[in-house]
């Protein structure tokens, strides 16, 4: 596949994967490997002092994957900035998937707080990948403050409902000056393929891989979906029509006398 460049860094996979909700670390690693992904997201949480768990990071090969910490759980810009700084202090590269989701029911991103946090984090030297509502105006504003990508949602996080925001994502893609990564809500490889066919630069998937009996196979399936969609986009989809246009010749039918 043609390379994806984010903030000057080259990737050969256009599928990013999340590491949440897997039944086991083994299942997570299998999904990551089979997906071909090079970027994996992680979250930051308090250690359970009474019952400390084995570190997630011991399962993720830093040579193979770029660790992309998210600010999930943040309800406003201040909380997101605090989490981003903690992630950087943990020794990660200064890449951050910015998420500000004050609403616990739909986990929809707060556009105002997201923009506010993005501006500050960019100034602090972070490579900011903001999760955002599929709003073309907000996408422009985020690019203006210097985000490395925009990450519009297809559907609410974890819903597996696909590209419900398709028309707005098309506008964001048309106007974008940074890579467009469709994040959240993609539940099937066909959803990922659809986003890529439209010209999205990449997609991010978590629940679809974690919430299946066979995460490794689903990782492969999404990899193929993303690759198929990208190739189709580069090839150029044929135009849609209302009326039929025969693929076979309209001459030489058996019924006609000469």
């Amino acid at each position: 596949m043609d390379p994806l460049i984010i903030a000057g860094r080259t990737f050969h996979s256009r599928l990013m994967v999340g590491t949440g909700k897997f039944a086991s670390n083994q299942a997570m690693v299998a999904a990551m490997e089979h997906s071909g992904s090079e970027i994996v997201t992680v979250a930051l949480r308090r250690v359970d002092i009474d019952n400390p768990k084995d570190s997630l990071l011991s399962h993720i090969d830093p040579e193979r994957y770029l660790l992309l910490p998210n600010t999930s759980g943040a309800r406003d810009a201040d909380e997101a900035i605090r989490l981003a700084r903690l992630a950087r202090a943990a020794g990660c590269e200064p890449w951050i998937k910015l998420e500000v989701t004050p609403d616990p029911y739909y986990l929809l991103p707060d556009p105002i707080e997201t923009l506010k946090a993005a501006e500050i984090l960019v100034k602090e030297g972070f490579v900011v990948l903001p999760y955002m509502p599929a709003d073309p105006v907000l996408a422009k504003r985020l690019q203006e403050v210097g985000t490395a990508t925009v990450m519009p949602l297809g559907a609410p996080i974890g819903t597996n409902r696909g590209l419900r925001t398709r028309d707005h994502i098309a506008i964001i893609i048309e106007q974008a000056s940074v890579p467009v990564v469709v994040d959240a809500g993609l539940g099937a490889p066909s959803h990922a393929a659809e986003a890529m066919e439209m010209g999205a630069d990449a997609v991010l998937v978590n629940t679809a891989l974690a919430d299946t009996p066979d995460p490794a196979a689903m990782g492969r399936a999404f990899r193929k979906g993303v690759e198929a969609g990208r190739e189709a986009y580069l090839a150029g989809l044929g135009p849609q029509r209302q009326k039929a246009e025969a693929s076979s010749p309209l001459t030489g039918f058996l019924r006609n006398d000469r």
């Binding site: 997570m28 992680v42 979250a43 930051l44 949480r45 250690v47 002092i49 910490p69 903690l86 978590n206």
Partner: protein, 66 residues
């Protein structure tokens, strides 16, 4: 000495540095980020930073997330 760690009050009999606290809690320092009274403490300061009565600590680690 009373410390608030991850939102929970705990008593400690003796004085501690951050490193000693992590050891006592059986945490692997490399896997933890420490915030002391809202200030991030990088690993190089763990051995030199002494905790005081009433300090608030956040001990953070990476977990799975999307």
């Amino acid at each position: 000495m009373r410390l608030k760690i991850n939102g929970q009050l705990q008593n400690f009999a003796q004085e501690l540095t951050i490193s000693q606290l992590l050891e006592q809690l059986q945490l692997v320092p490399k896997q933890i980020v420490v915030e002391l009274n809202r200030e991030i403490l990088t690993a190089d300061r763990h051995t030199t930073t002494r905790l005081n009565d009433g300090d608030t600590l956040e001990l953070i680690q990476f977990v799975g997330g999307g």
